[in-house]
């Protein structure tokens, strides 16, 4: 691997609010790995799902504004932790390759678009630019004994023609990073099943049913925790976990980490820097269980 690059960083709106722990843990982990994240100056919202349900040139314009700023700052790669932002930014980059479409977007932006930077998720940057082996070298406190299921959400890898990262049905990047961190990764069959996305407010029944299935399946596999890479997935699984319990008549209490939080723990970064206190389902019980399990295994191995 060459020396770590400088990335234009796009935190996404929820990074300032409901997913602030994702934002701070991402920054902490990237710093620990020697990556430079430069915030896109005065970035604005990508429009998320609502914008592309209105019009594609409109949503492209909202995203392209940010890519344009990054390009003007001389940054060739934009990275974002949020898959929804990622999809919009990447789709915008693809869309403006069509000259006619680009014209429409330039009208909305009232200005010409320069060559736009490439966009990748922070997960992709960690997995492809840094590499799981280098991540493993930074691990000081391996997550030994922690059984996790990695949940990628629906759009981190799909559609493959746009996202161009990992496998659309069986992605492995997060699994590999978690293994590098010392965790035990239990194969999760619903890695890419949609959690209900932004329908939580208007149709919480829909989200409850979909997250309920994900949580129930994970629980059936006996995992200590779910690991996510998406603010909306995390919110639906964590904050809304009791709504799912109510809908399914279950009583699951499964903590839902951002993968960056777990990497941070493995790097022995302070808990405050990872925002563990921001999670709704308290993760400490799971972490303790894992420690005990690791201890027991060690004892068994030593006596054997």
């Amino acid at each position: 691997m060459s020396s770590p690059r400088t990335y234009a960083y796009y935190p996404g709106c929820s990074g300032l609010g409901t997913s602030m722990e994702y934002d701070i843990s991402t920054r902490a982990v990237c710093k620990a790995l020697g990556m430079t994240l430069t915030d896109i100056p005065d970035w604005s919202c990508c429009g998320s799902t609502p914008a592309h349900t209105v019009d594609h040139s409109f949503s492209t314009a909202l995203s392209a504004r940010n890519l344009k700023i990054a390009a003007k700052a001389g940054l060739s790669t934009v990275t974002t932790p949020c898959p929804s932002c990622l999809t919009n930014l990447k789709t915008a980059g693809k869309n403006v390759k069509d000259a006619e479409f680009k014209k429409k977007v330039e009208i909305l932006l009232d200005g010409q678009l320069p060559e736009l930077p490439e966009v990748m998720s922070v997960l992709q940057a960690l997995y492809e630019d840094i590499g799981a082996d280098v991540v493993a070298e930074h691990v000081k406190k391996p997550l030994t004994g922690l059984k996790v299921a990695c949940y990628y959400g629906c759009i981190m890898n799909r559609p493959p023609e746009v996202m161009e990262f990992d496998d659309p049905e069986h992605p492995i990047a997060m699994d590999k990073l978690m293994e590098a961190a010392g965790a035990t990764v239990i194969p999760f069959p619903l890695k890419v099943e949609c959690c209900g996305a932004s329908l939580g407010v208007a149709r919480k029944d829909v989200v409850a049913k979909l997250t309920g299935k994900l949580i129930d399946t994970a629980a059936g596999l006996g995992v200590d925790a779910l690991v996510t890479a998406c603010p909306l997935c995390q919110m639906n699984l964590d904050l809304r976990q009791d709504q799912a319990n109510a809908a399914l008549g279950t009583r699951h209490r499964i903590p839902v980490f951002y993968y960056t939080q777990l990497l941070g723990l493995a790097f022995d970064l302070p808990e405050e820097a990872l925002g563990l206190d921001k999670l709704c389902v308290d993760p400490h019980h799971a972490l303790e269980t894992a420690k005990e399990r690791a201890q027991n295994t060690k004892v068994r191995e030593e006596t054997a």
């Binding site: 970035w43 919202c45 409109f58 559609p159 407010v201 208007a202 149709r203």
Partner: protein, 186 residues
Amino acid sequence: MDVVFLDKTRDDAFVAEVERESGQNVALCYQCGNCTAGCPYTFAYDIPVSQIMRLLQAGQKDRLLKCKSIWLCATCESCTTRCPNNIDVAKIMDVLRHQARRHGLAGERNVKVFWDAFLDSVKAHGRVFELGALATYVTRTGRFWTDMDLGPKIFPKGKIGFKPHDIKGKDEVKKIFDRFMEESSK
């Protein structure tokens, strides 16, 4: 179910418009049902996605633009990823929403209200103000009990900001909205 008059109620112009805006050829669909099979939302849909494709082939504009399904699609891309004919089905769902909006239709009104509240917040501040968008939604729908159960879980975490994060270039962002309104009224 109404009789579908395959000739009389077929809207060719509508089909052509959807094809043009989505860049897809709807004749490619051979009704295998893979989109419906993979769609996590079928249980909530009034028309499964494969039948939306069929109604589209048949030019049944009215039923399509009034249905709930197009508002419940979360663009999870299962359909697009797995379509054996490489049809970007999710994009077609998007384009049908665009069409419905133009006709002032929304089969799942609350979903649209939430999305609009989100965008209004972006328009006002340059970034979305989560609590503000939720408040707008609650006011417009009158559903004051929305996610009341979540308040005690999230407020103590200090994650919900009570003030918007206005950006310096918020006027720039507002102008994108304004120009879009202007362009689409042309």
